[in-house]
């Protein structure tokens, strides 16, 4: 059980043998990854679940309480992707935390940048492959089994099939994400690109976040001015100009308030919820 994952075989000249995560520890990551969406929330989505998934890794590699806290806080940032495919960034992040804790040669900021870069493609792929393909196919087959008089067999077939998909992808994500992640960081290190990785990851992360905002930060003003033929719908006018403008402006406002005015996130959340509810009440938001 305590056999270590052999990843350094391909790079014999590697500086020193790192204490890699054991299979047992990776299973622990797998189990904690299952809670990725337990505390799913509109502020930062799966962040708390991601943090719990990283617990075995952080506890293993960090001794200093301050380092530990910093690592935990890193994973409390916004994270959203498909629940099942999220296992891949969990595995990759485990490899990067390990590298940072043991070698100190990766930029810790690049961990979040790479997570963010991965969440976009995996959300798209995960949702369409699993919910758009695997589930309808298995459900369709199950229905035809039941209609053919096989009853509970159809139900069982569906549950077992979906369990294989759901748990299998998670298993693959954690174990392969980790193994490939370890190799990837080592390769980047030897290519001399290590100090550029955070730049490359930041480019991807910025593109993904920019792409996420129109669908995830939505502000709609359902006000119409005038009457009859000359009615002016404010939202349609805004959308005609820049679709999703209010959402991105509100995000930038929050960014400014957090970084420049040092206003806490909790305060901003409360203020935002009050604006939302009050806005609906007086009819300027909807």
């Amino acid at each position: 059980m305590s056999e270590e994952i052999k990843t350094a075989q391909t790079a014999p000249e590697q500086v020193e043998e790192q204490p890699h995560l054991t299979k047992k520890e990776l299973w622990r990551v797998f189990r904690n990854q299952l809670t990725i969406r337990c505390a799913n929330n509109y502020e930062r989505q799966q962040n708390a679940g991601f943090t719990q998934a990283m617990m075995p890794v952080i506890e293993k590699y960090y001794d200093d309480p301050e380092d530990k806290r910093e690592a935990y806080e890193r994973h409390m940032e916004y994270f959203l992707t498909n629940d099942i495919t999220s296992a891949i960034p969990v595995g990759v992040a485990a490899a990067m935390e390990e590298r940072y804790a043991t070698q100190r040669d990766v930029d810790p900021e690049s961990i979040n940048a790479i997570k963010t870069a991965l969440m976009g493609p995996l959300a798209g792929l995960g949702d369409s492959l699993l919910n758009g393909t695997a589930r309808p196919i298995l459900a369709g087959l199950a229905i035809s089994f039941i209609q053919a008089g096989l009853g509970w067999f159809g139900v069982l077939f569906f549950v077992i099939g979906m369990s294989i998909v759901s748990l299998g992808v998670r298993y693959f994500g954690v174990f392969q994400g980790y193994t490939q992640g370890v190799k990837l960081v080592a390769k980047i290190q030897s290519s001399g690109l290590i100090d550029k990785v955070s730049d490359l990851a930041a480019i991807a992360a910025y593109t993904i976040v920019g792409g996420f905002i129109p669908g995830l930060v939505i502000i709609n003003i359902p006000i119409e001015i005038g009457s009859g033929d000359s009615v002016l719908n404010i939202q349609q006018t805004l959308d005609g100009l820049v679709p999703g403008l209010l959402g991105v402006l509100y995000t930038l406002l929050m960014y400014w308030l957090i970084t420049k005015k040092k206003i806490s996130a909790v305060k901003l959340i409360l203020i935002t919820m009050v604006i939302g509810i009050a806005g609906v009440y007086v009819g300027i938001l909807g």
């Binding site: 798209g124 949702d127 229905i143 792409g211 669908g215 960014y255 604006i275």
Partner: protein
């Protein structure tokens, strides 16, 4: 089995199904499973299969992308099966009645994601400050999952034990503006999360890529796979045109 016990068992099953949908995702929360299981509890498996298939077909092609509040197949199947077996008024009527009251599941999800779990997530953050591992697990997993019993189990119990009208009464009693307000606020608080994330990646000189991603999604309605490919282009251009030059 008394109706009380049956309603209780169905509510417990619905709660477990929601916990599954939030964790292991063996998909016992789908109509095709919920129908027969509730049928078994209520004493008529055949009706359970019929309702399960009917609702599963309705939701077959529904793909939930991102955070859009999905219509609730689990609660509607459980209540529809219950009504069909108790009332005997035909499965179509039962499904129609159940779909109407399963709106409460959507309301519960909105409430869970915009209030309850935001609260628990901040408690996880407090636990992180104290390096309290138990606190992380308690507030990320145990308490939010326990809340599923209140949010989804309880309405199901009430609908089966006291009737769908009772749940309809609850829905009518909740002002529309509160639910709309919560979902409008919920759609806005993501801005705070994204702002925190952006401030944690300190590479402001790359703001044009932020704009690029935004433009692709907002103007062209590009999906996330497309955005990811754009990101690949950005990374490759930076690599070949900037980093390669630096090396020479």
């Amino acid at each position: 089995m008394s109706l009380f016990l049956q309603a209780l068992l169905v509510a417990i099953f619905v709660t477990i199904a929601f916990i599954d949908s939030h964790t292991t995702q063996t998909h016992i929360f789908r109509p095709i499973v919920v129908g027969p299981v509730v049928g078994l509890i209520m004493g008529n498996v055949e009706i359970g299969f019929t309702v399960g298939i009917m609702v599963e077909m309705m939701f077959l092609a529904v793909i939930f992308v991102g955070t859009a509040n999905p219509p609730d197949p689990t609660i509607s199947t459980a209540i529809a099966t219950g009504i069909a077996i108790l009332g005997g008024g035909g499965t179509e009527t039962a499904v129609a009645t159940a779909l109407a009251v399963s709106v409460i599941g959507q309301m519960a999800t909105t409430f869970q994601n915009s209030i309850i779990n935001v609260f628990f997530m901040h408690r996880v953050e407090a636990a992180v400050e104290k390096l309290d591992r138990r606190g992380i697990v308690l507030n990320n997993t145990i308490l939010p999952m326990a809340f599923n019993a209140v949010l989804y189990g309880l309405p199901t119990f009430l609908a089966i034990y006291l009737g769908a009208n009772y749940v309809q009464g609850i829905i009518d009693a909740i002002p529309d503006q509160i639910i709309t307000g919560l979902s409008v606020g919920g759609n806005m608080i993501g801005a705070v999360g994204f702002a925190l994330l952006l401030s944690s990646i300190k590479a402001r000189k790359f703001w044009p890529f932020f704009l690029l991603g935004f433009i692709c999604a907002a103007y062209f309605g590009m999906n996330m796979v497309g955005i990811a490919l754009i990101a690949v282009v950005g990374v490759a251009m930076y690599y070949y045109f900037v980093l390669a030059n630096d090396k020479n």
